[in-house]
């Protein structure tokens, strides 16, 4: 079979880490090649090298048998390489069309909007997508945004597609549509490199699979000749148990009671219409629902980051609604925000700074004026060990950490009880495993369960039904700003849950 890409002996250092250590990788015509590996394994780095964003220290790149120098994305595009990045690279205030044609000569000096719009529409339809080229990107759902990302490269006639975790932001339905389209692209003879942490996707779609760990390629196999547990073991270097054992929960006392909660979203629309929910101590309550049904607003209101327009949040008999985040922190409510890089981390500060962003002004880490850096440093080292954060250097810049390690950092900050040396009474965790590898996901699950059994109440928001059913003691389905049903895992079957998430009313027996 014809080789589209061959990377040979790629080595890439970053200050203090070898991100790629003598990596070789091939992509064939018409194949979907899954690239797996734990957070920080070096997958994105390798792809950035192929796309010309980074220069390798050592190593050779061959495209269709020819040795090439790729010094910038421009070179890569000329060679027919296109990349969908791990985070959306789109401009919300521009139209779909404007996002797609940026940098393209063939769009004409005066942009031929009508003609190009037709072309884009046709291209999208050939993959079964319906996209309005004149819509603004901020109006699109995550699934549509991902389609625009793909159209960006397809419109440039790329034959080598690099997709860096394209499904991590998608709902299961959106994901299915995307995978179908990818299969068609492969049939047309394109080569696709597909990075993911979800093993079922690897088996659903890929022809071959490569696993990386700590900057090296461990193995490349035909997908049909391997299985989930083998891949998982390659990824984290030890067997992974996909099911979690947890003790029966013994709820004792209320962690928080949410009553008739109402709040607006950023666009001024009522996003929380009437939320009622009780979370007990020693209990995990999972919230599932299609993204955008009020989950984000709910967690923000609890964390004190968004004003509620009505209702109450009751903690120990006191209504704490619209208290300052400071007050809420002091009550022992921990918050694990979605999208850590945007909401949970100051990327240019060090690991140590980020760990103590909340605790630095409380005893014993400061006397209110002067910070006791020695104490902080010692505690930071302890936390880095306990939560297994890599690199083990408290002075590393947070932005250089991989996704899994950022999430560990936030867990360490939020859960370690730095303030008042007690465990949190309530942990609000919004999508804490998004984009994490199987090992890190397992770590987050275990940690949350452990804290719930030590006495914390946990509100766990997820898009992944199976994940929520697995770790929760009770599950609440959220739709259109309301909790539509609360039940125990196993009481309702998955199809019915899917219907409830879509807003279909279901009679309860």
């Amino acid at each position: 079979m014809e080789e589209l890409v061959s990377l040979r002996g790629i080595i890439k250092h970053f200050p203090g880490v070898i991100a790629n250590d003598n990596v070789s990788f091939t992509l064939r015509k018409g194949e979907i090649h899954a690239l797996l590996g734990e957070n920080g394994a070096g997958k994105t780095t390798l792809m950035n090298i192929l796309y010309g964003l980074y220069r390798p220290d050592i190593g050779e790149i061959y495209v269709e048998g020819r040795k090439v120098e790729i010094n910038s994305p421009k070179d890569a595009i000329t060679l027919g390489i296109g990349m969908v990045h791990q985070n959306f690279k789109l401009i919300p205030s521009h139209t779909v069309l404007e996002n797609i044609i940026l940098g393209l000569k063939k769009s004409g000096l005066v942009i031929k909007s009508r003609k190009i719009g037709e072309e884009i529409k046709k291209l999208a339809e050939s993959y079964g997508w319906r996209i309005n080229p004149n819509a603004y990107v901020w109006q699109l759902t995550a699934g549509e945004k991902q389609q625009v990302e793909l159209l960006k490269i397809l419109y440039r006639d790329a034959k080598i597609l690099i997709l860096d975790e394209p499904t991590s932001v998608l709902t299961p339905q959106e994901c299915r549509i995307l995978l179908q389209a990818l299969r068609r692209m492969a049939k047309e003879g394109k080569g696709i490199i597909f990075i993911t942490h979800k093993l079922d996707e690897v088996f659903a779609i890929s022809d071959r699979v490569t696993v990386m760990r700590k900057g090296r390629v461990l193995v490349t196999k035909e997908t049909s000749e391997t299985n989930m547990s083998e891949l998982a073991q390659y990824m984290v270097g030890r067997p992974v148990i996909f099911t979690i054992e947890k003790k029966e929960s013994r709820p004792s006392g209320e962690a928080i009671t949410i009553k008739n909660l109402k709040a607006f979203n950023d666009k001024g629309v009522l996003a929380l219409k009437d939320v009622n929910l009780k979370v007990m101590k020693n209990e995990i309550v999972g919230i599932i629902g299609v993204t955008g049904n009020g989950q984000q607003e709910l967690v923000e209101v609890i964390a004190g980051l968004r004003k509620a327009s009505g209702g109450s949040l009751i903690v120990d008999g006191v209504n704490i609604i619209n208290s300052s985040p400071e007050k809420i922190i002091e009550l022992g409510i921990a918050y694990i925000p979605p999208e850590p890089l945007r909401y949970g981390i100051a990327p240019n500060l060090t690991v140590l700074d980020n760990l103590f962003m909340k605790a630095y002004r409380y005893k014993p880490y400061s006397n209110g004026v002067i910070v006791n850096w020695k104490k902080i440093y010692n505690k930071a080292e302890e936390l880095i060990r306990e939560f297994q954060i890599v690199p083990e250097n408290p002075y590393a810049k947070a932005r250089s950490l991989s996704g899994g390690n950022l999430q560990r950092l936030i867990l360490a900050r939020e859960l370690s009880g730095l303030i008042g040396e007690k465990i949190p009474r309530l942990i609000v965790a919004a999508y804490p495993t998004k984009g994490l590898d199987v090992g890190a996901t397992e770590f987050v699950h275990k940690t949350l369960i452990e804290y719930s059994r030590k006495g914390s109440g946990i509100l766990f928001v997820s898009e992944d039904i199976e994940e929520a059913l697995m770790i929760s003691d009770r599950v609440a389905v959220m739709h259109d700003g309301k909790i539509v049903r609360v039940f125990r895992p196993g009481e309702v079957d998955i199809d019915k849950i899917g219907l409830m998430m879509a807003g279909v009313e279901i009679a309860f027996k």
Binding site: P73, K89, I91, S93, H94, E98, L102, G103, L104, L109
Partner: protein, 326 residues
């Protein structure tokens, strides 16, 4: 208030506004690409000083051309500092303003000026060497149209630069919003890392727009001096560069809306001069002179609120240097 009085106020409104319009046009491009050029005032002063000297030495055409070159050079320096070396745009911009103020003052200092003028053109007569004023750009009346009552003077009785700035605003609006070049500039200002990943040379785009903003600022200074107020003194532009900066925001980064905003500021300023002539505010002329600046400050206060900033669509990466993460 006679009809002549109104006609004159309207005419001066446009002529005053043109200073702001020219300066803000270039700044709009720079900010749309994500770079704040706070050196506007300094660059205007350099343009004014250059036009002063060259008008005396070789006449108007040479004055305009050289001030364009000087502006480009100032823009180039700024772009190297903030685009390539990624220094703080506010600090460097203010430094450029001081540099422009200092240099323009130095070159026009009587002794220095005399020497410079003699080097530029040794045949200049002695009396030209020390005069403080230059010849104004001639006004070109458009036949028939300029005779229309009230608006004839306002739109059809100006020097070439005024007509030019008006047409240019429309052209620059078209380029910014309808062409590939404009899309590239706007995208670089919104999300440089995306533009980079699509093969756009972010640094080159920003260098070009910053140089353009230098050219326009300098041209604005030249226009102010030879086209509006040809009497030299140090710091002759009197902070109008900063007013132009506020105008860019008021115009929400659109060259079309900048026309309206520029004439609004021009109008306020003209009006207060006229009121002074009437003897109004005679007790405190400074109060009226303050008006344009108060308008500026108010614009900035209203618009610097985070929520309003988002709603009016400031370029998302304005003021943030771009570096590919490596």
């Amino acid at each position: 208030m006679s009809i002549e009085w109104i006609e004159q106020v309207l005419q001066l409104t446009v002529q005053m506004g043109t200073v702001y319009l020219l300066a803000s046009l270039g700044e709009i491009y720079a900010e749309r690409s994500g770079v704040l050029n706070l050196g506007l005032e300094g660059m205007m002063l350099m343009g004014a000083a250059t036009s002063f000297m060259f008008t005396l030495a070789y006449g108007h055409l040479s004055a305009i051309l050289t001030s364009i070159i000087v502006g480009a050079l100032m823009g180039l320096i700024l772009s190297i500092l903030v685009v390539d070396m990624k220094l703080n745009q506010v600090v460097v911009g203010l430094a450029m303003t001081m540099l422009g103020a200092g240099l323009s003052g130095f070159f026009t200092f009587p002794e220095v000026r005399k020497n410079l003028l003699l080097r530029l053109n040794p045949s200049l007569p002695e009396e030209v060497l020390l005069i403080q004023q230059a010849q104004k750009l001639p006004e070109i009346q458009i036949p028939l149209l300029s005779n229309i009552p009230v608006i004839g003077k306002m739109f059809f009785s100006h020097n070439l630069l005024v007509y030019f700035s008006f047409i240019l605003s429309i052209a620059m609006w078209f380029i910014l919003f309808k062409t590939r070049i404009g899309l590239t500039i706007r995208s670089v200002g919104e999300n440089p890392s995306m533009a980079d990943s699509l093969g756009v040379n972010v640094y080159m785009v920003r260098r070009m727009t910053v140089i353009l903003s230098g050219v326009f600022a300098s041209l604005a200074g030249a226009y102010f001096f030879i086209g509006f107020h040809p009497f030299w003194r140090e710091g002759v532009t009197a902070g109008r560069g900063f007013i132009a900066l506020a105008l860019v925001i008021l115009a929400t980064w659109s060259p079309m809306r900048a026309i309206l905003g520029a004439y609004l500021f021009g109008g306020v300023e003209t009006f207060q001069y006229r009121l002074q002539l009437f003897g109004l505010g005679a007790q405190s002329p400074y109060f009226l002179a303050m008006l344009p600046y108060i308008l500026t400050i108010m614009t900035l206060i209203i618009i610097s609120t985070e929520s309003i900033k988002k709603r009016i669509g400031a370029p998302a990466s304005l003021g943030i240097p771009y570096a590919r993460e490596e």
